[in-house]
């Protein structure tokens, strides 16, 4: 046990971009979790037992990042990118009509709350084509 701890260390929550899955994921815990699909862009990550949200995943992130975020003046000027900013940009692109369904709106709000509370910074980005 000691050897593993010494060689592997502990998980520190941070936003990670998974290239093959093409998803930007942030999860607070390294434990068994359940993935609840909200729509084609957002998946909430829930605690296995309580089903309380402990993170979220933005799917198809590569296209959205290259098309919308990377060239945004806000991104170019800022030395770092906040995850809440990514979510805001995504919600802006989806438009108000997209949030007419309360469960979907609430899910995005939950993701935004997690990003804001944890002050998540994104430093892991898709490679340019």
């Amino acid at each position: 046990m000691g050897m593993l701890t010494a060689t592997f260390g502990e998980y520190t929550p941070r936003a990670l971009y998974y290239e093959d899955a093409d998803a930007l994921e942030y999860v607070r815990v390294d434990a068994p979790v359940v993935y609840r699909r909200i729509d084609e862009f957002l998946t909430l990550i829930l605690d296995l037992e309580t089903r309380e949200p402990v993170g979220f995943k933005i799917k198809g992130f590569r296209n959205f990042y290259l098309r919308t975020i990377k060239s945004s003046p806000r991104t170019i000027e800022s030395p770092f990118l906040r995850l809440i900013t990514v979510l805001e940009d995504l919600m802006t692109e989806l438009g108000e009509g997209f949030f007419s369904e309360a469960p979907r709106r609430d899910a995005y709000q939950t993701a935004a709350d997690i990003a804001a509370q944890d002050q998540v910074i994104v430093s892991d980005f898709p490679k340019a084509a």
Partner: protein, 220 residues
């Protein structure tokens, strides 16, 4: 500080011992230790072909995303990969006892009972996620990192309202023809890119919830 006279033009400035910068010792985590074997999961696994349920094919496992889990010190996705995708107990001291013939549920890609095609979302270069397939298993048991005197990991019962979904990106989405030279069938089918627990359909607990809107079509 003291000065050593060398000649009429040159003196050597010699710091006292107390002024010298003391060498600093630094602890290097994991130095001189081989990484634990379970942190290097197999890079290929066996599973059913999406085009023929009875045919067993090899799948590669995403290398970059597994490394990203390891770099982030995430143990759970690696444990899930061993147990739910490869269908084997990770090589951890004291964990062999979990490799029992527990008949509850299925484990591993080979035990998949359903296969869907198309993610209904963009994925990398694939705007429609059409080249992806999802295999569904119904495991009853999971593994989690919970160190004790006996073992690093612990077995636990999975809630009955969950299924495990394994996503693969196909090498040849339309199905690869037999080798033109030797006539043998292809060996590999694609890359496993994602694996996760999802809630099941309340009407059919063997399938993922909203499977009709989540995937394009069911292959088997």
């Amino acid at each position: 500080m003291r000065y050593v006279w060398l000649d009429e033009r040159l003196q050597l400035r010699v710091p006292d011992m107390s002024e010298r910068e003391q060498p600093k010792f630094r602890l290097i985590d994991g130095g001189n230790q081989k990484p634990a074997r379970w942190l290097s999961p197999p890079v290929t696994t066996l599973g059913r072909s999406p085009f023929d349920k009875n045919r067993i094919m090899a799948y590669r496992v995403t290398n970059g995303d597994v490394q990203k889990h390891l770099d982030a010190r995430k143990r759970q996705p690696i444990l899930d990969l061993w147990w739910h995708v490869h269908g084997i107990v990770p090589p951890i001291s004291g964990a062999a006892k979990f490799d029992t013939t527990d008949s509850r549920g299925t484990r591993g890609l080979r035990g998949a009972h359903a296969c869907f095609r198309g993610l209904m979302r963009p994925a990398g270069e694939d705007d429609r996620g059409f080249d992806y397939v999802a295999f569904v298993t119904k495991p009853a048991i999971g593994l989690k990192y919970e160190p004790s005197m006996a073992c690093l990991i612990k077995q636990f019962d999975l809630p009955a309202d969950l299924v495990f979904v394994i996503y693969a990106r196909l090498d040849f989405p339309e199905g690869r023809r037999h080798n033109q030279i030797d006539g043998k069938p292809p060996v590999t089918e694609g890359v496993i890119v994602l694996w996760q627990l999802v809630e099941c359909d309340p009407e059919n607990p063997l399938l993922p919830i909203d499977h009709k809107s989540r995937f394009r079509r069911r292959l088997w």
